[in-house]
Structure formats: C-alpha cells, structure tokens
Symmetry: D2
Subunit: 305 residues, 4 copies
C-alpha cells in the first residue's frame, strides 16, 4: 500500500490538499510533525511520498520546504496541489461567540483573520499556536476557548464551527508539492513545471541576470523565483525557481545545461504536471519541433560544408 506523509496534524490544509490528488485514494496518509520530519520520512523510505507546502499566496514561500529540498539526499517533486485556504473559528460544542476570551491560532492564520477578529471578538486574547492543527488539538483538550484553522479540523476533533470563511483576503491559496526519492520522473504532459535550486558563484554581480538570460534565450518562462541564503554568509544566496516545461522538453534541457555551465551547482527538483493544466504560451522557435529541425539543419550543414 502506498504511504504518504503530510504536514500534520490531521485537519490541516495539507491533508485537504493531499486528498485532492488521486494517489491519495487508496494510500495510507501519515501526519508528520513538521515539514523536515515529512521530508526525512520520504528520504529514509519510511513513506513513499511526502506532501509539504511550498508557497502561499499570502505568506510567500515556505523556507523549511525550500531549504529542505535544496540540501540533503535528493528528493524530487512529482506532483502539486493547490488548496484554497479558508479559516473557521471553532469551539467545543456548547460554547458561544460571546463566551470566548482566549483564541489559539498560528501566527500566519492570525495575520489573515485580523479584521474579522477585531470586528467580532474585539476583547479576546489571541494565543500563538505552532500549527492550525495544533490549535484545534489544544482546543479539544480544553486549553483555550476557541481555535482558528481549516474547517476539516472540526470533524477530526469533534468541534463546532462558530464562523466560517473569516479570512480577510478571499481566495488565499497554498501550493503543496508531492515529493519522493528519485526514480519515477513523470512523463511530460505538455503542461508541466520544473523546479530547480541554483547555487551561484559568490560576488558575481550579474549572476542573476545571466541566469534569467539563459532561460529567456530559449523561451523558458519563470513562474516563481525565491532567493534563499546559503547559510555561508550574509548576502550569499541560492535561487529556488519554477519554470514552465518539462526536463524532456528541448528548450528546458538546453537551458538546464546552460545553467549547469554558469552556476556553481544546479539541483534538479523535478518535472511534474501543473495542477491547472495550463500549457505554456511559447514564442516562435522554441518548440521541440523547432529544436529538432535546427539539429537536422546543423547536421546537414556540417556534412555538406
């Protein structure tokens, strides 16, 4: 049976996201205590896959995931899921809004429901929790009066929902990636993404411009770029990048080889189907057919010159 770790505890958005992927249907889903823990379980073969958050439309990239994939023994992304992040205010059965004086919430969640709390429970104290699931679990144990988190947690912990969709920003989204040990590169679908970590030579002022030019000259579009510290010194960065396309696409292959030549290191973190199935809009001259024709032409020229 397929086993998949996710960023637990049960009832977080990670579990909800995981359940949108067909692979979860007959799989055993295992809540991990943290993102590094989930990644380690996949690395050490304790599970087949791990699902971890990589970026949020509200909070930005998830450093623990970026750094966890960029270092250590290799893991590759084989799928992604995007989950709308909607917050509910939950309490134990019988508790009413007027009774609430102490609310537990992860700081990210707090940031997203600030306006609603100010308007509806202005006097309540808000207490930091280490995850949305932990807030719900603590609430079930009686530590506070209410908790903020994914509505799915109410079912899991036997809570009632006092108010739903209380977030200030509608349509907040979190993107999760499904990672595994290398060996099962997904086939290209025509609507793929590739994730990379690029380590540059230090003190090279134009390094990022060079990187972007390697992509641009082959018509490869970026969809995400994050700088991350390398932990060596202040101002020494690596770049976590998502591009449109699959490593099997000629334009992506050639760009990757170009990056390999100018970077200190290129870490390939997987090619996988886009969750939205959106095919890239390619400029003239960069399809696989264009690359193949150029190779045929070059071979012909070389043989006949």
């Amino acid at each position: 049976m397929t086993t998949i770790a996710f960023l637990g505890p049960a009832g977080t958005f990670a579990e909800a996201a995981l359940r949108t992927l067909p692979i979860s249907d007959n799989a055993e889903l295992i809540a991990a205590g943290s993102t590094p823990a989930a990644l380690d379980m996949a690395r050490h073969g304790q599970v087949d896959y791990a699902l971890v958050p990589i970026e949020s439309s509200v909070e930005g990239s998830v450093p623990l995931t970026l750094d966890g994939l960029a270092t250590g023994s290799p893991l590759v992304i084989v799928d992604e899921a995007v989950q709308q992040v909607s917050f509910a205010l939950m309490a134990r059965p019988g508790v009413e809004l007027a009774d609430i004086t102490r609310i537990a919430a992860h700081p990210h969640a707090q940031a997203q429901v600030r306006s609603w709390l100010a308007a509806n429970v202005p006097g309540a104290q808000v207490i930091d929790a280490h995850s949305n699931g932990a807030a719900a679990a603590g609430l079930a144990e009686g530590t506070y009066d209410a908790a903020i988190g994914a509505a799915i947690a109410a079912q899991i912990y036997g809570l009632q929902i006092l108010a739903d969709a209380i977030e200030d920003t509608a349509d907040a989204m979190t993107r999760f990636v499904l990672v595994t040990r290398p060996g099962t590169l997904p086939a290209p679908t025509g609507a793929d993404k590739t994730t990379l970590t690029l380590f540059i030579h230090q003190d090279t002022p134009g390094a990022l411009l060079s990187i972007l030019t390697e992509f641009a000259v082959r018509g490869v579009n970026l969809t995400r770029i994050e700088s991350r510290p390398t932990r060596k010194s202040l101002g020494d960065y690596s770049f976590s990048i998502d591009i449109e396309g699959h490593i099997a696409d000629a334009r992506v292959s050639e760009a990757l080889m170009g990056l390999h030549r100018i970077c200190l290191d290129v870490r390939f973190l997987g090619s996988y189907p886009r969750h939205d199935g959106k095919a890239p809009v390619l400029r003239t001259g960069v399809t696989d057919v264009d690359f193949a024709e150029a190779q045929t032409w070059l071979d012909h020229v070389k043989e006949n010159s």
Copy 2:
C-alpha cells in the same frame, strides 16, 4: 529624548544590534512585542525610530519586515546594523548541565544549535518559544530548566551561562534596519545602500529580466533580491531589492525613474550608509561625474546642432 522601539523582549539580538548604533547612546529603548508592533509604533509617532530584523544569513529574509515596510503608511530605512548571532545555553543560578531536562528555544535558534544539543544534552526535551527573549523570560519565571538565546539575556534576567557559542554554523549574522517616518533622508556617504519594493504588472514573463536590465545598464549592483507574494493571487509577486548606492547618485536616480516607468509601482524604502562602509566598485561610465559630463555634452549638442 530620542525613543527607539526594537523587537523585544529585552535581551534579544535586536537589542544587541541596536546598541551598536550611536543613535542608541542617549535614547530610550523600548521593547516591542513583535515586528509589526515596532513598525506601528514608529508609524504612529509613539517612537522616533524602530529597529527590526530584515534578513538572516541562516534563515533568509524576514517576511514580517519586508511586508510591513512594503505596505501601510510610508516608513524609510535610515541605518542598518549587522549582529553576529551566537547562542548561549542559560539556566538559573545553581542549575548544572546534568540537571537539564526541558530547554526552551525559538525554532530558528533550535535549528542552529541542533548538533550541540544532540552531543551535550541528548535526552532533553526542546520546547518552542516565541522569541529568544521570551525563552529567557520564561526560564527566569521557572517554566523550564534552560533556555537558548543571546548571552545578553543572562544579564537582564539574572541567569548564568552554561555554554556559550553553541551554534553549529559559525558567523551566522542577522541584519537589522532602523526605520522612521520619511523626512530625514541620510546624506550620501559614498558607501550607501538603497532599498526598494517593486510591484510588477502581472503576467509579464520578462518583467524581472527587464528590472535587472534597468539596473545593469546604469551599472547599479544588487546586493539582495527577494520575491514576495502580493496577496492577490498565487504567482503574483513583488520584489524586495537592495542596491548599492544612494538615491542622490545619478546612476541610482536614473535607474529608479526607469523602474517607475516599467513597474506597476516602485516603493522607495530609503537610502542609508552601509554598515560595513564598503564603497561600490563601479564600472566605467557610471559615476556622477560621468553622468554630469554626458548631460553637458548633450546640452552642447542640442544647442549647436
């Protein structure tokens, strides 16, 4: 009397960093409960300045600071300080290493002392604290046996240091910025930095390449670039950027105007002296003298053609 808020509580690295700035000498230093709280105090005139962390060589950028400066009423950076981040294991007087079973530490701190703890107190439970200062404060109150944090906290809370410099990565640094309400742009020193937030037009694949080209063509070097979500939708980013030079430098002025023309919005977050006093290495043709000569030449050509 000058008042300066810093990311408290007392005894954090923020306070240590602040005390390296001359402006702190005769100022009243006020511990704020969080980065947003410190920024708000400066915004609302409750303090003259606020000192907040902006990036760490280990953890990367500090989203709360980047986002806090990028939105809301304007604040500008007028100085920076870099603080070596070194961790001490502290306990109440009389407690010895062998007695320790519960240690409080901020998760970032935990990540940086993991090897030392595994080797020296393998059996101890490590408990999350919300800041290094909070761990020390809680320790003073008797909540745990030990706490990890800046050595300065030992003095403040009457603790003893059981082990110093226990971090796994030597020379970990955190950079702090001193912000204030606009109106006191520091004079150029020849070794300055400028901080910007750039909002790009969505769905513009080459936008980042265009931004970097605006800088490169005027010989302006970047020292930091971070993408941040705009909270509008997944994949919609702004860029937080530090460049070498002062807004009063001609090459910086022209680059800023170029960015203003191609970006949705450019938010100027201050020009200020570099903490290390390191002057930029400029390529030929981009000094203020070069810009002035080009203007003189153009004026001459226009009048005489």
Copy 3:
C-alpha cells in the same frame, strides 16, 4: 538665395531626389563632382546645403557619405529624400536598339539591369562609367552607342529613351540626406529620425550588445546599422546608426547620454523628419510624458524621504 550642392552631374537620381524637397523650389542647385566634393562645399560655406546618397535598397550603404559625415568638421542631416531608382536605356537620336554595340553604365547600374541586357542586347559590350550622369554625358559626346541611367538625363543631354524601367528589381530605392553646417536643428515632428556615428573602445567583445541595450532599455528602435572601419586597424569598427525619434525626445536624450558614457565617442549627425511621416510605435513607459512623470515622482520621493 539658398544654394544646394548635389551629387552630379545633372541628370542623376540625386537631382531627381533633391527636386522632391520643398527647399529646392527657389534654390540654386549645383552639381558637385563627387560626394566628398559636395560635403566639402557645404563645410566651407560655398553652399548652404548638400544632398548626398546614404543608402540604396540594392547596393547598401554609401561608404563615402558615411565616412564623410563621420569625420571632418561637423555637418548635420536636416532632411531626407527617397528616390525610386529606375533605369532607362538612352541613345542619341536616330540610333536604334539593333545598332548598339557599346553601352556605358555605372557598375551599380549594370548590376541592376543585367537580366534585361542579356535578353535584349546580348552581344553588346558594357563599359564602366563613374556615374550615371557621366555615362549620359559621354554618350552625348559620342563615346559609346548607348548609356544606362535616370530618364531625367535624356532631357538634359538631348538623348532619346530606347527602353524605360529596365531594372531587374522593381522598387529599388535610394535614400538621400540633406546636410548643412550645425545651427538649425529641425523641430521635432513626432515622426523623426536621428543619425549617429558611434566609436567604440577596441577589444570590447560585448560593445555592440551594450550599445543595443542602451537603446532597448529606453524603447528606442533602430532602423539602420552599419559597421564601418575606423581606418586604424582591421577589425576596429565604428557604427553608423539611424534610430527612430528626435534628440529632443526624452528617451532619445537619455539613450544618447548613456552611449556617451560607454562609447569612445558619439557623433551626433542630426535629427530630422522622416520622409514617410511614419510615427514610431512606442512600448509602454517611454513617451515624453512617462519620462516627465518619472522625474516628478523622483523629485517627490527625494524631497519626502
């Protein structure tokens, strides 16, 4: 009375082109013996203007003009004219096609009528002449049986036209420029061109790429680029360039100053209305209004930071 020299003798395409410019209406038109001679007459004040060919859609740029403008005391272009180049076969009255055994033509003209001659007068000897006008003049003097050139020459020299429009390439065009001593920069019309000669620092592999980037980053389009030897050593080039826009346009001004900073020398050769009145298609952010708004924004930021 205005005096204008043109590349003579009478009856060349230069004269036909000059007569399309309103300035020629009440002017004295003076045939010069060569392009350098015409330029020298303008330089020394013997004439007010000189009209010389700068490029041909068939033969390419005219080195004598490019080099003549790039060196020596300054001359600037104030207008341009484009003349369709159509060739006639002319003979003295009474001579018929069957009688022709020796035909005079400038080598450029020969190249353009080769097919017609092969089909219609296959046995005739073709003799080099130094200009189309010279061929007609020599014909009038009886040196050969026929001449090839502009039909206008038939009137001037009392010749008959045996065949008209005999050129192999229809719509061949030559562009002429009207030059004068500096001092009368034409006003911008919104559909202007600017001509430059750029001298680069030798042994700078990326110099041309840098030049093109200075234009591209300000949205300035090139309509012509020619490399010319500097006469110093093989492989040492200058670039003769036409761009869309007027030196009074902000994007052009800023690009010129950028070039002045990176080039060994920039020679401004005039801003003048395009013969076809075609306004440039500008990308977002590079109109004069955009530049003015960016300056206003920068001034505001500087004063309020």
Copy 4:
C-alpha cells in the same frame, strides 16, 4: 593541378595575398576580371578555388563579395589571408617624377595616397582606374604617365617604382578569403573563424539584439558584423558576421541552431583557420569540455529523477 582564381589582373594585392597561402605553391593562378567572375568560376567548377577581398581596414567591407557569397549556389570559405596594402607610384622606365601630369589609380587607392600626391605631384591630374592592376596595365600601354598600385605590378608590367609606401595610413590591410564549393570543411585548429549570413524577419525591432544575445549567452565573440540590404526594400537588411570558433565547437554549434530557430534563414559560409592563429579567450563554461560535462550531467539527471 589545383587551380585558383583571384581578383585580377595580375599584380594586384589579391595575387600577393594568394601567394602567402601554401595552397598556391603548386597551383595554377588565374586572374579573374572581377569578384563576381572569380566566384562564378569556382561555382561552375572552372577552378577549384577563388580568392576574393572581403574587407579592408580603410574601405570597409567589400559588398560584391558579401553579396556574392550570400546568394547563389553555395560557396564556403576555407582559408583567409591578410595583405598589407602599400602603394607605389610607378612609371615606365625613364620617366621621372617631374614629368608626370596624368596618374591612374583606383578611387580607393586615390583616397589612401591623397596627402602624398598633394605634397609631391600637386599639379598632376588623377584619373580613375577600375583596379590597381588595370591602372598598371594601362600605364604599360602608354595611356598615362604613372599609376598607383601594388609594387608587385612593376615586375609584372615592366615598370619602375618612383616612390614606394606612399599611403597616408600606415598598416592598411585587406583581408581576402579563399572559397570553394562545399565538401571540404577544414578541421578545427583551436584558432578558427566562422562566417555567416543571417536573414532576419522584417519589422522585428529587436532582431539584432536577439541575434547578439544568442551568441553572447554561449560565449561566442563576434569579430565582424556588416548589415547588407536584401534588395527587397529599403531598411530590410541581412547581417554578414564573422565569429570566433569553428562549427565543430559546441558553443558555435548551439549558437547556430539558436540562430536557425529565430532567423528567417542562416547561411553558413565556412569555418576556417584564422590567419593570425589567435585562439579565442573564452569565458568560464563554454569550452567543449564544459558542454560535454553539461550533457553528461543532464543525462544523469534525466535517468535518475
């Protein structure tokens, strides 16, 4: 026996250049009447090779050669020769400087000896000749008193040299190329050049910038670039380009394929050893070893992901 046509008549710099190439040692050298004639002889198999001038440090590119190679059935360059261009004033035996009233010279030659003539034979009339060799031949026939050209012509036509090295610009050079029908691509030597003609899609403002970027991103340096009209319409250009490197070099191969994808047409005109044996200075990451390593890395990643 190898047969080689050159731009005649005998006694021109072309012959002198040809004699510097080892291939000429036991070959039959045949003077052609013009550059197109020499190229046609090679095209039609009347000779094995043709040597034609391609650029001059004084006059610039030679349009007849550029256009002759860019169109028609394929010819490729297999070698090059650079000849110092030095002019002698020649006369029939017994004629002295004071006797000279009429001097024949090609206009290019006239341009290069103008100062000497003005100082030494100020009153003489200068007559246009169609080549330096033709001037010497005509002199031998008694048409004028003196001729200007390569000193080699004096031997060939039985003339005496009245003054040698009379050129105004010392070290003027002309570069010649040896062309042949395709089929004998010279082996790479490590110090090679490749010549191309690039036809771009019309009305593409950034086309030249794109072309230069294709080269730059693979570390390929240009040594010559000429725009040439395509004869279709004014402002429609092709580009004649020399680059450092051989088509067998990986960086050149990849750049050529890149150009093939973005250009209307790429015409390969040969890879051949540089006359000066100067190896290119390559930036990091673009040697054949770098390309091979990148391919190995990519293959490894693809197989193991």
